[in-house]
Symmetry: C2
Subunit: 444 residues, 2 copies
């Protein structure tokens, strides 16, 4: 990537002053990429950057890398950098390290910042409070547009986002919001009270971050204010943080459905991947043994009609697939907020309907194949009926497993194909081999 | 939901003028929700709203609902509403309807808007050009901050976003960007050329929307400018559109892996779900028949050692799971841009390493179980070795299937568990039953 090489060259060759002037225009995410590419002494490169830029670079680094980057610097320099970081960035950094490391950073903060960060750390990390920043711009409704503009010229540089300005009353309760656009298009002597939007949508500090994400998606917000139960304004959540959170939640859903652990990277090491996957494979082994046990109960039937073994993969494969279809739909529906208590009964009935319809279609097809393959109508009946029953079981299991987990406050994606497939394997084999045992007289 | 009821009451009871004054502060997404809840005459409710609000409501509706909403109104009113819609909203609307309906809307636009929209429709819908809006604010670098502010007071109300102002040269090439925040915190006589950021990151109009999404995620942008190959600025993409696109892409990935079709809703009808899922179940039936055929080749072996049938679900289940793990990691790695040509060889080698390691662990475990279950060491050897080989095949298949599809420019998620499972089923049964056939003398 030539741009990163160019950046490295520039950082190496120019003086600290020249860099300070030019580097403001370069996006910190690109500087971070360049540093990742550089194989020489990274500290030398980093030391040529202004503190505020280093703080932004740390913000764009992955959570695990933040502490490593910061502690490359001398204690004095760390203090300067920490001073430039916003409260939510500091909380992200501190959330990824242990107690001792945490304290070593907190002592480097100004007392005021340390107190703020300590308070933010009391919120659960996955809630609005845990992801908010406290650097927002607030004004009083009695101010004019001109006064607000002047106030912003002082405050904007430190704020997390300057595009929304919050109007608070004497006890810091949220009364309204004006956008910077409103400020720009209105007359200087207009009062804020006249132009502010009083119907401001806010979120409580204990709202789950995924639900906060849904609010951003619904309204197309750039920022949302966070309030406590007295409607006192505590902070703001910004859309860039939400995008990262939603992306991580999506990865988590996909991974959990497949039995991978959070944090496994496509470009990781063999050891990391084995650690992520082997536990799930052992869980799957236990459930597969249950399915095997079911089959073993019917060994004498299979020994008399060995064609039953041939059709076993069809029973298991189709049931597993139909179950995974329903499971995926329910897990995604929960994540998007489209599935809830109000429509759960309707959805269950629909899924049973789908199981019935697909069961009839696939059951008839498989019955025909079985009849043609073995030349015995009863063989077709046995495999067709087993398939029909298994597809109904599959849709019910695909519904019940994630919904039950959700009720138990466990992530429904953890239902993962493994568990649903266990149900369809065991019951599928039971229907198929059980029916064959009952009708064995017609099969041999 | 009491808020929506309140809104409906308000719309029913108050006059058009009173509503116009108050409704500005209500978010269009909430008005849309209220309209969905209302069971009376919706047109009556909608007709009380100002045209600009109706245009925003249509923007927040699902693509399929937009046309339906717009065509509720009289032709004259439709003209007014269309006039208030921004170019990307019109393109979204026109993209979801047929040619005839499309023309019926285009004739209602002003010639200038119609030309613009027709040009936007020439871009592929899934590219930066297909999702951009042309309503951005542009200035010249010779302007001062004060002049820019004045210019904005005229232009901002129509712009899609006013938080970034683009600096263009005489031939409309993108030279730089200033944020509204820069405008607010600088002196009125400062020249734009002095404060603009010249290192502005832009995307070409033919960039895939998923890649545009990754750029938003990497940089935390609110807006990105779209340019042609001469660097002429064409439009902007905003973060709210990107969030919707990313959410849809995530749903698509999850659905395709599970064999569901785009557009299936958790709260949809039985008919829609059957239409979405049955084709995939039939694909799966075909692949399951291939697995069954493999088993049928070994029927005589199974008839001699019927315990082989008991262990078949373990072979198939474990292989399918291990394959799905790799598949999911690769599909997500491609979506996140973390997997590419440069690291593909390294990732393949890692996956083979993971297959070897997990294969040894699971192979030993299954060999022990097989030995204890059947009391024959060779039985343990056969199932253990088959499992070891199948787990290596599983990781390779989980890698090769999506990577091949990507090379063929087919969505790698379409690889779906179905295909990878077919490979692991067929080869797993082949290893297991084949080894048993070779060593049959030690098993009976």
């Amino acid at each position: 990537m030539p741009y990163e090489m160019e950046l490295i060259q520039f950082l190496l060759e120019y003086s600290k002053e020249q860099i300070a002037e030019y580097i403001e225009d370069v996006h910190p995410a690109d500087i971070l990429d360049a540093i990742h590419q550089y194989e020489g002494n990274r500290l030398e490169l980093l030391n040529k950057l202004p503190d505020a830029i280093i703080a932004s670079i740390i913000d764009y680094a992955e959570d695990e890398e933040k502490y490593e980057l910061l502690t490359m610097f001398s204690d004095a320099k760390q203090k300067e950098i920490v001073d430039e970081m916003s409260s939510d960035e500091l909380v992200d950094l501190l959330g990824s390290i242990d107690e001792e490391e945490k304290n070593s950073i907190i002592v480097k903060m100004k007392k005021e910042d340390a107190d703020e960060v300590k308070e933010l750390l009391t919120y659960l990390p996955d809630t609005a409070g845990g992801i908010m920043a406290t650097e927002f711009i607030s004004i009083k409704e009695t101010m004019s547009v001109g006064e607000t503009l002047k106030y912003m010229q002082m405050e904007a540089p430190d704020a997390e986002t300057a595009y929304y300005i919050y109007v608070l009353d004497e006890v810091e309760c949220l009364k309204g919001v004006v956008s910077l656009r409103d400020i720009v298009v209105n007359n200087f002597d207009e009062k804020i009270a006249e132009i502010m939007n009083e119907k401001v949508i806010s979120v409580p500090s204990d709202m789950d971050q995924e639900e906060v994400g849904r609010i951003f998606e619904k309204y197309g917000f750039l920022t949302v204010p966070v309030v406590d139960y007295n409607h006192k304004m505590l902070g703001i959540v910004t859309v860039d943080d939400i995008m990262e959170i939603l992306s991580n939640e999506h990865t988590e859903d996909l991974y959990r459905l497949a039995g991978l652990q959070e944090g496994e990277k496509v470009a990781g090491t063999v050891g990391e991947s084995v650690k992520s996957r082997l536990p799930w494979l052992f869980v799957n082994l236990l459930t597969a043994i249950l399915a095997a046990t079911t089959v073993s109960l019917f060994e004498s039937t299979i020994s008399r009609v060995v064609a039953l073994a041939t059709f076993m993969p069809i029973v298991a494969g189709m049931g597993g697939n139909a179950g995974t279809q329903t499971l995926t739909l329910i897990v995604r529906g929960i994540a998007l907020g489209e599935f809830n208590y109000e429509n759960s009964k309707k959805v269950l009935l629909k899924e049973i309907g789908v199981g019935l319809s697909n069961g009839i279609a696939i059951g008839l097809a498989v019955a025909t194949i079985g009849y043609l393959w073995e030349g015995k109508p009863v063989f077709g009946l046995v495999i067709g009926l087993a398939m029909f029953l298994n597809l109904i079981v599959a849709t019910i299991a695909g519904f019940v497993v994630p919904v039950t987990l959700k009720k138990l406050r466990i992530d429904p994606a953890l239902a993962s194909a493994v568990f649903v497939t266990t149900v369809t394997d065991i019951l599928g084999f039971f229907f198929f081999l059980g029916l064959a045992t009952v009708l064995i007289g017609y099969l041999v």
